[in-house]
Symmetry: C2
Amino acid sequence: VTETPRIAIDAMGGDVGVSRMLDGATLALASDPNLKFLLVGDQAAIDAALASHPAVRGAADVLHAPEVISGTDKPSQAIRRAKTTSMGLAIDAVKQGNADAALSAGNTGALMAMSKLALRTLPGIDRPALAALLPTLGDNDVVMLDLGANTECDANNLVEFAVMGAAYARAAMGLERPRVRLLNIGEEELKGTGEVKEAGGLLRDSPYLPLQFDGNIEADRIGRGEADVIVSDGFTGNIALKSVEGTARFITDLLRRAFTSSLRSKAGFVLSRPAFHMLKTHLDPNNHNGAVFLGLNGIVVKSHGGADAGGVANAVGVAAKLVRASIAKRIADDLARFHEHHPIPAAAK
Amino acid sequence: VTETPRIAIDAMGGDVGVSRMLDGATLALASDPNLKFLLVGDQAAIDAALASHPAVRGAADVLHAPEVISGTDKPSQAIRRAKTTSMGLAIDAVKQGNADAALSAGNTGALMAMSKLALRTLPGIDRPALAALLPTLGDNDVVMLDLGANTECDANNLVEFAVMGAAYARAAMGLERPRVRLLNIGEEELKGTGEVKEAGGLLRDSPYLPLQFDGNIEADRIGRGEADVIVSDGFTGNIALKSVEGTARFITDLLRRAFTSSLRSKAGFVLSRPAFHMLKTHLDPNNHNGAVFLGLNGIVVKSHGGADAGGVANAVGVAAKLVRASIAKRIADDLARFHEHHPIPAAAK
């Protein structure tokens, strides 16, 4: 177990850039002093920012990268610049063993393509997946994956996602046998696409996996605390996640309109401020920032481009937790157990 | 144009049954006296309920049906009882020309299967789709389809849904060229599944259709008022709709918790009641009750099983509006125009 995770930070990514990433690193260090950073990006810009972030300066090395991946760069363009960009060199540091995890707030498509090419998938894993924690009304968050890495998936991909998501839930929430469900349009076994039905069959037949498969879950139950891991293909998962985010914003906007519609409502708003603060804390995406790219020989975490310092610190915390939990080894071990019973077809090897 | 739509109501469907359906019919008549009803179900139960619903009694005939489709009946079981059940006979009344539309609050899968078998799809339509209106922050609602009738769809199905959804938007909201978008995981043309990309190409090449195709839309923009029609396969549409509904309930539950957490918050709640009432009105699913099964030779509307009287009245209003707008003819005409340019492959005829 790595007691002091070393995290390579793409210092140039995100809507704000270096200062925001260092603000986040400062906050992360304050709550967890056993962290080291490798700050990757423009040396001059990083040095200048470090002057006003003394705590980070004491815990960080700097790796100069002359270029930056932009938000509009295509993944195919990005991978050609793996050795010159801050994002590419942060990932390369994980590959070279100079860091235990990479963190970037930049272009998601580029980050996934570069990570997959540099770090390769774990043995037994066909496709990596993007996973995140979402809030629930229950005691724990829920791990959702895939959130957009794979537009189309077969049944084996979904089983791999279930194994990876369960390993994440064990690592992040200390659960022994996470309750896993497949996202579907009904709870009955006969519902859904052929891929989902086949994946359900495979998971029901795999009681030796360190997870409890509870069948299907409908999208209106995502936040009810009835599952620890919710699995879907990346198209469906992205639609569900964005629908949740969009609806939360829709209602927040409606509330704002409603509470500014009259003097009486405004007074009510002032009186209700603690209640709204509680709601905001629960819904604030910064408190759940840090999506993980699971299934690779290394840890890569994506911070939201617009995350605030607290959000960046949260993503750093996710990376550190996964390093300390040896997430990649855990996934590889669980997958090996699955493939003892379900050998990988020769054609796929 | 049918000035006085005659609506066959499955009087036995829904969580409450006859009394709720007649409460809804009463409300519908109060705001639109030019309606006739055919109440289908147990004659004795309907007669008893009509005694306390005099307005409906003056506008309704009764058709006795000895059996009822239950919530757990499979579609395959239901279609064998088309001639003995309240749901089956309500649909049959449309087929026989004894009603202009059928309305049921019963089992959705059974309703879709029976409707498709009895009414058949319109010429040029491969698959019917389930469509509903959702609230937005803009001036109009948005038509979303397919919400679950078809788990897997090809590009032509999606184009047909676009045409059907646009016809609905023209009929329901009086728009001349509704803005149509495909639900996708990014706005760029290259994003998404093969089916979605191909459908986008077909729609871009069809400027003669009475709609304005605006490309893709992500799920977090559904309620922003940026589209009049949002098209997807039934699996994706169901996931998006349920995610929206579940998140709205999640936040409502959080608000309730927050506002009962202290005396101060409770006082704030009382003061803010008008604002909450405004929010509730906007989010209340009863105000958007009535999903339409589009693409058939006849109009079938599904009311939510738990809808209140106002919700049932809203669904009756949807049915009446679609009858007066001759929705089936409108869709058939638009589809014929599309197939002039894109002939149906011989194999599919």
